[in-house]
Structure formats: C-alpha cells, structure tokens
C-alpha cells in the first residue's frame, strides 16, 4: 500500500485538509515507517476525526436554530387554533380547522424530532425565552415567549385575514431558513441533511395549504395573484415584503431559467421564480422573527 498515494488522493479531494490537521509534514511524521501497517486504519481514523470531527458543533447550532423556528411556528398555530374556539366565533373557521390541526400537530412533531436529535448529539435542546418546561419532554406551548402581533403592528389573532398573511409568511420563511442552513448539514451526520429536507418539504405542504386558503379568503371567486407557490417576491401583505426579498431570483446553477424553452416560448420570470424556493441566511431570518419574540 502506497501511503503517499493515499495522501495525494485526500489532498486532491480536499485541498484544505492540512489546515484541518497539522500540516502534511506532521502527518507524514506520525504515519512514517514507525506506524505498523495494522495500526494504519486507526491512525487514519484519528486523523479524520481531527480534520472533520469539529463540524458537530455547527450541526448542533444549526439544529438549534431550526428548533427555535419550529417553536415559533407551533406557538403561532396553537394560539391561533385556540383563539375563540370555545365561543361561536373562532378565529379559524370550521371549514379550515382540520387542515390547521394537521399543520399544528406536524409542527409539534418537528419540535420533538429536533429535540431528540439534538439530545442524541449530546447537547441540551433550545428553549424559548421564559419557557419553564423540560427541554426534551416538556409541552412546547409557551405563551410567555411570543407576541405575534409584533407589539400591535399586526392584528394576527383578531382578524383571520391577518392570521393567514402571517401564516403564509412564516411557512415560506421557514422553508427559506431550512434551505439556507443546508450548507451546514452536508456531512449528513446522523442523517440530518436528509431529515432537514424532509422537514422543509412538510413546511412546503403547509405553505401550500395556507396559501390556498388565502386564495379563496374573503373574495367572491379567488385572488388571481395568490397561489400555493411564491410568485416573484410578491408578499401576502406589504409589511411582510422583507420576508420575500430575493424570491424573484431566476438564475439557478448559473442558468437563467427565463432563457430556457417552456411549453409556450421562453419560461416566464413568474414561472421561473415560482419553480424554485430560495434560501435565506440565518441573520436575515432572525431579524424577521425578532419582533415576534418576547
């Protein structure tokens, strides 16, 4: 076995490998003729642990961020679902309640899934400000942690239309947040890359449901521009515009989608933007949810 050749291959695959360990010379020193052939796999294993093992911290903080978003979404739906539900006038009308019940229960499942995954990776799961329950098994409902009116800026729980606007924005932003975090999960430690995609697509279903309800809300027929998908950077309401910045992107992998041929002529900018959801970075997402947190 030519050990130098192995190092060359690693080097080709990852030019920065020596910055992650301690220089090629040191590797060669430690793996020189003194290392018995039988011990080579162990030595290699420890080298790679050194080079790539520290990514676990990034994975955990990424999952914590996801958990924070799931707490926010769950509390939003739980509060909305129970607003006025014991009276004749509930915020969410009877026709839409079963769908919102599914969404709320799936957000709760996401919380439980992320809590368990973070616990398995050896960290204490995130809890929102003012939360008093057990971080792993406690009831995730935490009314003291949120103000979904953003200090009176939105009539979230007193007007169903406002509730739907914010629901759509939270789901769409949730999708964008997950996509923005995928670069941190590429190693797929414990399958987290795949899990994150599996959660994001469930948020995609939620967004579609909420948007379809909005499409028919309070109009005689339907609102032509409101669709289950995001058209350019069109927001549900003007104050939610910042949640949609960048959604009008039409260039994917260096290819302008509007230069491609569709069913009739070139693909339109509207279709090109609808066909792809766009990632959003953590700092932007945090700035967008900040006003709902107490």
């Amino acid at each position: 076995m030519n050990f130098n050749h192995i190092l060359q291959e690693i080097e080709k695959a990852d030019p920065e490998v020596y910055e992650k360990v301690s220089g090629r010379r040191n590797i060669l020193k430690s793996f020189g003729s003194k290392v018995a052939l039988a011990a080579l796999p162990i030595a290699l294993g420890s080298m790679f642990k050194k080079a790539y093992g520290k990514t676990t911290g990034t994975v955990i903080s990424t999952l914590q961020f996801a958990l924070e978003l799931e707490y926010l979404e769950y509390n939003f739906y739980h509060t909305g679902y129970n607003t006025g539900s014991n009276t004749t006038a509930s915020l969410i009308p009877a026709n839409d309640r079963p769908g919102f019940a599914i969404i709320e229960s799936e957000e709760k499942m996401h919380i439980n899934f992320l809590r368990t995954t973070i616990d398995t990776l050896g960290a204490v799961p995130f809890t929102p400000n003012g939360y008093t329950g057990d971080p792993i098994t406690g009831n995730p409902y935490s009314p003291a942690s949120y103000d979904f009116t953003a200090h009176g800026a939105f009539t979230t729980f007193s007007n169903y239309g406002s509730f739907l606007d914010l629901a759509a924005a939270l789901e769409d932003t949730g999708i964008r947040a997950y996509q923005g975090q995928l670069p941190n999960l590429l190693a797929n430690t414990n399958g987290v890359l795949t899990s994150a995609m599996q959660i994001a697509s469930v948020e995609g279903r939620h967004a579609s449901f909420v948007r379809l309800v909005r499409r028919f809300y309070n109009t005689p027929t339907f609102q032509y521009g409101n669709k289950p998908w995001i058209t350019t950077n069109f927001p549900p309401s003007v104050p939610l515009q910042p949640n949609y910045m960048g959604e009008d992107n039409t260039v994917q992998k260096g290819v302008d989608i509007t230069s491609l041929t569709g069913f009739t002529g070139y693909i339109t900018p509207a279709a090109a933007s609808e066909a792809f959801d766009e990632p959003m970075d953590e700092a932007t997402v945090r700035s967008l949810i900040a006003s709902f947190k107490l």
Binding site: I6, A13, H110, Q179, M197, V202, T221
Partner: protein, 228 residues
C-alpha cells in the same frame, strides 16, 4: 460478463459516516482499496435498445431528469385535455404546475448537456385525464413521489452544489403535492402515508423511486448505477 457498477455507489451509501465531498471521495477511494476489486473496469454491456443513465452525479441528475420528463408529459396532457369540472382557479394552477415542471426539466437537461438521456417514451395510461379524481390522484402520486425522490437523492451527490438546487425544487414539489391533495380532499395537505409520526416527509432511495415510476416509462433503462 456481469458488471456491477453500482457497487462503488453502494459502498459509499452504506458507509454512513461521510461528511462532505472530500470525505465521500476519499471513502470511494478507500473503499476501492478495502474491497480490493470493487473498482470495476469501464467496459459495459448494454443492450442496444436500453439506455444507460450514466454514473455518479450524472446518473443522479439523469434520474431526476427522468422524473421531470414524466411530470412534464403528465401536465402537458392534463392541460391539453383538462378534466371535466375544471374551475378557473384550477385551470390557472394546472398551467402553473406544467410550467414549473418545464423549468425543472429544462434546467436539468441544460446541466446534463450531451450526457442527458434522450428518446425516452413516457406512458400516461395510469391516468384518465377526462376524470378529475384520476388526474388529481395521479398528480398527487407523482408529486409525492418527486418529493421523496428529491429528499432521498440529495445525500448521494459528490458535488454538493447540487444539494441546494434539489432542495429548492423539492419544496416546490411539496407545494404541488399538497395543492393537488387539498383540492381533491379538502384539508389534507398531507396524511400519514407521506408524512410520518415524526413530521418527516418521505425520502426514498433512487432504486425504490424507479420501481414506483416504472409504469410511467416505456423506454428500457439501465439504472443499476443508482444507489439502492
């Protein structure tokens, strides 16, 4: 001579500890040493009427391209001969879904260049397009399957630049799936068949997706290089 070109892919998939492109590529290399003989020669016998979808990332992109070929054929037909009782809203959104699938298909085709499989004949006979229930049921079936396919394939790419691309498309497939489900049966953006009790949508292996997709494709394909 039976050549199993899928073995090196399988080797990587089963390793379960890969961390990024570099690690994956290293393991591919290391696997070759450990398996001593898993790396096979490049000669391959493919019957002349069978199309080979390629290796590595090319095979994965061709696999997604195949799904998009079925979806575009499906929605083109659904729009050309729309079901009875189609509302104005449904007409608009049915055309939208067709156009999104075209965007996905044409992008993948552009990425593949001359490595794209061609002359693929789809089979739409599972659907009665004049019938609303049949059309929407099959639309939901194909979109649910596409979600599972995109979610399941991301982890296999050597070039992780494709991961974000497929994620961007996967959530739009999920929007389609939920929409078709919801207008078929109100208040059902998902059910326990597609979202499990951990709140996770499905992630299926390429081989499992190809098996589910087989009634929709007439062309004989050699896709043994896809991960199982």
């Amino acid at each position: 001579m039976k050549l199993d070109l899928g073995s090196d892919n399988k080797q990587i998939a089963e390793t379960g500890v890969m961390h990024d492109v570099s690690r994956r590529r290293f393991l591919q290399f290391a696997g070759g040493i450990a398996g001593a003989g898993l790396i096979v020669s490049s000669c391959r016998k493919t019957p002349p009427d069978t199309q080979f979808i390629g290796r590595g990332d090319t095979a994965l992109i061709n696999y997604l391209y195949l799904i998009e070929l079925v979806l575009t054929a499906f929605y083109t037909q659904a729009n050309n001969t729309p079901y009875y009782g189609l509302t104005e809203s449904e007409l608009q959104l049915l055309a939208d879904m067709r156009d999104h699938e075209y965007a996905h298909r044409e992008l993948l085709k552009k990425i593949l260049g001359d490595t794209a499989i061609n002359r693929v004949v789809t089979n739409l006979s599972p659907t009665t397009f004049a019938d609303r229930t049949s059309t929407l049921t099959n639309s939901a079936f194909l979109e649910d399957l596409a979600v599972a396919a995109y979610n399941g394939v991301a982890q296999h790419f050597t070039d992780t630049g494709y991961v974000l691309l497929v994620a961007k498309m996967a959530t739009v497939k999920a929007r389609h799936a939920a929409y078709s489900r919801d207008i078929l049966t109100a208040n059902t953006p998902s059910d326990s068949g597609v979202v499990n009790n951990m709140g996770l949508d499905r992630a299926m292996s390429p081989q499992a997706v190809m098996a589910a997709l087989s009634p929709w494709i007439e062309t004989k394909l050699d896709y043994t290089t896809l991960p199982g």
